[in-house]
């Protein structure tokens, strides 16, 4: 509640308040509910949970797609079973990670300031209308004093956000949009208080308040969209609760990864991702290194082999001796490369700030010129100052302040509904300027597992293949087992022998059956299967393309984007995928720093690169590229390095995201145009001294509302 404490009424009894909001459940279990979408879902989930004995309360949050449950003595498994029983996917969320996004203090603080400014604006506007319609003398002075009484404290409270931001910019000798805003608000208030004190005619309290109100609206919109994306991204991280199974004196215990030290023994069962670097101490298995190196082919490991953090154990159970933890792991060492790459991108200046850098000095010089001009034509100092300040108030970038956030909110909201989390405020602006797209292969364009074309094989041959593949520990055989349809029952084999480097051989119904290298089996291609004296059957193994990958590449090429494929995998594998996607521009066996260099070379040639990747080997490239997208299946490190996270499994929305980003950029520029157009009309009037508070109020509201309406067209 700390941010709300700015309001004195709210600090009074935080405890009483907590007791009053009984429906809010503090410190309960939080489950993620990715598939809920309607009222019926809310009802079903809450009913299912309340039916579990021991559950005291359950409240679904549809915006965040999660449920908070107060059930101190019920095991989480029971709660998950209840929700799954009702037909919804669910996973437990790490409370400490999501708690921060649940109590959105900053958002509440902005909303509070927005509300105060809004109510003050309405009231002051009423008095202003009375003055404009002809209140005179004592009545006018009374109304001015009341307006001052409302406006000054409101401005001090509500416009604080702009003052702080402007001050932090001025302190380092820079100008941002908040500098002219703050200046206009302060000068308008000061001039009006002065006019009120001397019983003058023209006060700008309503202008200062409506300015604050409209700008806070922009800030709130901006904050809310980014908060939604941030909380969803945090949720992804919270899903990967890092725990490891430590073996100590033969006993197994589940510990947090941070507690491990080099020399510990940990168990890594099939399907688990290695949390730390280690050496295989017992067991044998195959590891999926695709997230680290981009290789799609699994690698066998036996006693003494090195396993790096981030690799996934595919088959057998392993015991690892921990060699490096935390900052020393392979995963973390990549961070240095990422940091260096990020530095290069941080030089991007947001469109709004670029506009401010031109706009702010221009209006300040204009006001100064107006003041000097009026002195030169023989005016007194007081009226000249008055006119100069009115120029500043009229030209205050109210519409400019709304131009970017309103459009970005509409665009980000649209993308959010289509499964894109836009994490970075300027990501869409940058995405719109991209002209080259670089894809990673494994895990991005492909799903990271293989498919086997089985159409031409007899069921009998398939059953033999299944049995032989199962008998072998070779990574390719493992891949085949995973790719074969589960309905195929393996036959019984006799005399299974594995010939290292060649393949596996066995006897079946008195015939010799072989699976392995083409030359050994008797076929032109590897791998192949031979049954008895029959002709050898070459097996076609291909990586499964991610849904929508082919269409996306085609559409991007049709839109005249340069499309490249850069992978850490073997040339054959990369070429196969590139050919299927119709890509001629591909590069294989690229190391992480080579990927970065390719991007740097392209940028030097004047291109702007969008990097789409998921692996650790892409992380530096993601951070370096002009804009970057990673799928939700990517490593946490990659998602952190990229601007946008793609939640849906299909890639086909990517083109739409680029289109939306372009449309958003067009609207932003249109909005700048609208704001500039208003100023072109208003500035001459103000410079010549004809500006009135009524004119200022009309110009400001009209331009702000036009800009907001224009922004909504992005949807």
């Amino acid at each position: 509640m700390s941010a709300v404490s700015a309001c004195p009424a709210c600090t009074a009894a935080p405890l009483a308040e907590r007791a009053a909001s009984g429906a809010m459940i503090e410190g309960g279990t939080i489950l993620s509910l990715p598939t809920i979408h309607c009222a019926a879902c809310i009802g079903a989930v809450e009913r299912a949970l309340m039916a579990v004995p021991g559950v005291e309360g359950a409240r679904v949050n549809l915006s965040r797609k999660r449920v908070t449950i107060a059930a101190p003595r019920v095991p989480v498994e029971d709660l998950i079973a209840a929700v799954e029983g009702a037909g919804f996917e669910t996973t437990e969320l790490d409370q400490t990670l999501v708690a921060a996004s649940d109590t959105d203090e900053v958002g509440r603080a902005i909303l509070l300031r927005l509300a105060v400014a809004g109510f003050a604006m309405m009231n002051v506007m009423l008095f202003s209308v009375a003055v404009w319609s002809g209140a005179t003398e004592a009545t006018r002075n009374l109304f001015h004093w009341i307006s001052a009484g409302i406006a000054v404290p409101t401005l001090m409270f509500s416009a604080q956000i702009f003052f702080t931001s402007a001050w932090s910019a001025i302190r380092v000798w820079r100008l941002n949009m908040d500098v002219p805003i703050s200046l206009a608000i302060i000068l308008a208030a000061a001039l009006s208080v002065f006019e009120t004190a001397i019983g003058g005619h023209e006060v700008y309290f309503d202008a200062a308040l409506s300015l604050t109100f409209f700008l806070l609206t922009g800030r709130y919109l901006d904050h809310r969209t980014r908060q939604a994306a941030r909380s969803a991204a945090q949720e992804l991280s919270a899903l990967e609760t890092p725990r490891a199974t430590r073996i100590l004196d033969g006993a197994r215990e589940s510990v947090r990864v941070q507690e491990l030290v080099p020399g510990d023994m940990i168990a890594l069962s099939a399907g688990m991702r290695a949390p730390v670097d280690g050496i295989v101490a017992s067991g044998r298995s195959t590891m999926d290194r695709s997230l680290l190196t981009g290789e799609s082919r699994a690698v066998s490991v036996v006693l003494g082999d090195v396993v790096a953090a981030g690799e996934v154990n595919l088959s057998g159970a392993l015991t690892l001796e921990v060699t490096a933890v935390g900052e020393d792991t392979t995963l973390r060492r990549m961070a240095a490369l990422v940091e260096a790459a990020e530095g290069a991108r941080n030089s991007y200046t947001a469109l709004a700030d670029r506009a401010a850098q031109i706009y702010a000095p221009a209006v300040h010089l204009l006001a100064l010129a107006t003041f000097i001009g009026w002195i030169l034509v023989g005016s007194d100092i007081a009226p000249a100052l008055n006119i100069a300040i009115s120029v500043l108030i009229i030209t205050c970038p109210c519409a400019l302040g709304l131009a970017v956030p309103a459009v970005m909110t509409a665009a980000t909201g649209r993308l959010f509904r289509r499964g894109f989390l836009v994490k970075n405020g300027t990501a869409l602006e940058r995405l719109a300027e991209v002209d080259t797209v670089i894809f990673d292969k494994t895990g991005t364009l492909t799903e990271g597992h293989a498919s086997l074309s089985v159409a031409e094989m007899t069921p009998e041959a398939l059953s033999v293949l299944a049995a032989l593949a199962r008998a072998s520990d070779h990574p390719v055989a493992r891949m085949m087992v995973a790719a074969l349809p589960p309905a195929i029952a393996p036959v019984d084999l006799g005399d299974v022998t594995e010939h290292p480097g060649l393949g596996v051989e066995a006897t079946w119904r008195g015939q010799t059956v072989r699976l392995g290298r083409g030359s050994w089996v008797g076929a032109a291609r590897s791998p192949a299967l031979a049954i008895g004296e029959g002709p050898a059957i070459p097996l076609a193994i291909a990586e499964t393309l991610r849904e929508g990958a082919a269409e996306t590449v085609r559409e991007l090429q049709a839109l005249r984007y340069g499309v490249r494929l850069i992978s850490g995998d073997e040339p054959e594998a990369v070429e196969a995928v590139a050919t299927r996607l119709g890509l001629t521009d591909w590069q294989a066996q690229a190391r992480p720093d080579e990927k970065v260099r390719v991007i740097e070379a392209l940028e030097e040639a004047g291109h702007r690169v969008l990097m789409v990747g998921d692996g650790l080997n892409d992380t530096a490239a993601l951070a370096r590229a002009y804009a970057s997208i990673s799928p939700a299946s990517a490593l946490d490190a990659s998602r952190t390095a990229s601007d946008i996270v793609l939640l849906s499994r299909s890639l086909s929305e990517l083109v739409d995201a680029v289109r939306t980003a372009k449309a958003a950029r067009r609207r932003v520029i249109e909005n700048f145009g609208i704001a500039a157009g208003y100023n072109c009309i208003a500035i001459p009037i103000a410079v010549l001294g004809f500006a009135s508070p009524l004119g200022a109020a009309i110009a400001m509201s009209t331009s702000s509302i036009t800009v907001l309406l224009n922004a909504l067209r992005v949807r």
């Binding site: 709300v4 309001c7 009424a9 709210c10 308040e17 009053a20 909001s21 009984g22 429906a23 809010m24 309607c38 009222a39 019926a40 809310i42 009802g43 809450e46 009913r47 679904v60 949050n61 549809l62 915006s63 965040r64 649940d102 959105d104 958002g107 509440r108 909303l111 509070l112 509300a115 105060v116 109510f119 309405m122 009231n123 009423l126 009545t139 009374l142 009341i146």
Partner: protein, 51 residues
């Protein structure tokens, strides 16, 4: 113009009532799940307001 003595305080009081109502709704976390609250009106059993 004596009517102002009544009307001005009345307008101020009405506006502060509106502001207080908003502060109350903010304090009771009515802006945390806008989509959910919009959907809840369709639920038959859940017609109790949030706290």
């Amino acid at each position: 113009m004596n009517v102002l003595l009544i009307l001005v305080p009345v307008s101020l009081v009405l506006a502060s009532l509106g502001l207080l109502a908003f502060l109350w709704s903010l304090k009771h976390r009515q802006y945390e799940d806008l989509e959910g609250d919009a959907a809840r009106i369709l639920l038959e059993e859940d017609d109790t307001p949030r706290s």
